[in-house]
C-alpha cells in the first residue's frame, strides 16, 4: 500500500512537472558563515523561519568530521546554520522524522523539506564533501540573498 502511494506520488510529480521549488532562507541566515548552537528552549522561540539546522553527536568520528564540512561550507558560501546537540534535538517534533545524528535539516516554515539521512548511502558523500553537500542543498535553497 505504502509503495503504491509513493509510486502514485512520483507519477503525479512527473505529470505535473513538479520539482522541489527553491526558496530563500530568512535574511538573517545569509551572514558570515557561523554555526550558532541553540537549545530546545530557543528552538521553541523560532517563528515560521526558513533555516538550516545541524544536529550533531559529540562523538562523530568520520575520517573528516562532518562538522568541519558544514563549517567550511558555511564560511565559503556565507550561510549561517543553527545547530543543536542531539540530546536537545530529541525533544523537538523533528525527531519523529530524523532519528539519528548527525544530520542537516532544511526547514521551511516549520516543515522539513529535506534532510541528510545517516542511514542512506547516497547521503554519505554529502557528509564528507563540501561540493556534494552544496549540490544537494542547492536543489532546495537559494545560496545567495535576492
Amino acid at each position: 500500500m505504502k509503495k503504491i502511494v509513493v509510486l502514485l506520488g512520483v507519477i503525479l510529480c512527473f505529470i505535473t512537472g513538479c520539482t522541489p521549488e527553491k526558496f530563500q532562507l530568512d535574511e538573517e541566515f545569509y551572514g558570515t558563515g557561523v554555526i550558532k548552537e541553540i537549545s530546545f528552549e530557543e528552538f521553541k522561540e523560532l517563528k515560521n523561519q526558513n533555516y538550516l539546522l545541524f544536529t550533531f553527536n559529540n562523538f562523530c568520528a568520520l575520517a573528516v568530521p562532518c562538522e568541519d564540512i558544514f563549517k567550511e561550507f558555511a564560511t565559503t558560501y556565507h550561510i549561517d546554520f543553527l545547530s543543536m546537540k542531539f540530546e536537545e534535538f530529541k525533544k523537538t517534533p523533528l525527531h519523529k522524522t530524523v532519528s539519528f545524528a548527525p544530520s542537516v535539516l532544511i526547514i521551511h516554515q516549520w516543515n522539513i523539506v529535506a534532510f541528510l539521512d545517516s542511514e542512506k548511502e547516497e547521503d554519505l558523500e554529502r557528509f564528507q564533501d563540501v561540493e556534494a553537500f552544496k549540490t544537494w542543498l542547492e536543489k532546495y535553497v537559494s545560496l545567495t540573498k535576492e
Binding site: 553527536n57 559529540n58 547521503d123
Partner: protein
Amino acid sequence: MKTKTLLFIATILWGIFLGFWFMNLLQSLKNPPLPQPEKSEGLRGVYDIDKNINEKTIDRYLQRNDVVYRDVRMLEDSATWENKGGTRNLEGFVEGFEVVPYAFLTEFPQAYIEQKASENVSGLYQWKTLFHLNEKGDYIANYQESLEILEYLFPKDKVIFLMCGAGWYANFTKQMLIALGWDASKIYNVGGYRNYEGDHAISTINNHGDHLTYDFWKVPYHNIDFDALTEL
C-alpha cells in the same frame, strides 16, 4: 513379557524425545533466531552499526541467554570531550549491558588519536591495556592473562552485542575481536547509547541544579587490575 518390556522402553524413549523437543521449543521461544549481522547503509555503515539490531530495535533483543551485552565506554573518560560539547562521564546505559571499557582492551589507533586532536579532544586513555598494536596492525598481548580475560569478558560461544556512545568504540572492539579470532557472524555493533530510544535506559545522572553527580554504583562494571597481571 518381552513385548511389555519393549513397550516400556519405547515409552521411556518417546518421553525423553518429547522432553527434549519441549525444551527446545521453550528455548526457541525465549531466543528466537537473530538476523545475521548486516551493516547499515550510509554514514552509520561507516561505523559498522547493524542494520537490524540497533538503538531503535535493541529492546526486542534484550534478556536473551544466548547473548552477552557489552558497553565499551569508560565510567570516566580521560579525554577532553567537553571541548566538543560532550561529557567525560558515562551518563547512562541500557539495562542488561555490562561495561567493559574498550580503552582497557587495546590502544587507540594513531589515526583516531590524531583526528581527535584536530578536533581539540586530547587526553585519550593511553595507559595500561591488555593488547597493543604492532607496526603491522596486529594485536599483541601485553600480559599472560590477556587472552583469557578477553575470552571471559567476550565469550566465544555466545553472541556479542556491543554498544558505546555513538558506535565508534563498539566498532573498534568488534574489529579487534574479529582480528583475534572471534566469529564475525556472532558480533553485532548495536550502536550508540546517545541514539537509544527504548524503554530500558538506566541513567546515572543526578542533577543538583548547579552541578551533576553520577550514580556509578548502578553500572555493572568490569575493572581490570593490571597490576595483578603478569607482564610479557
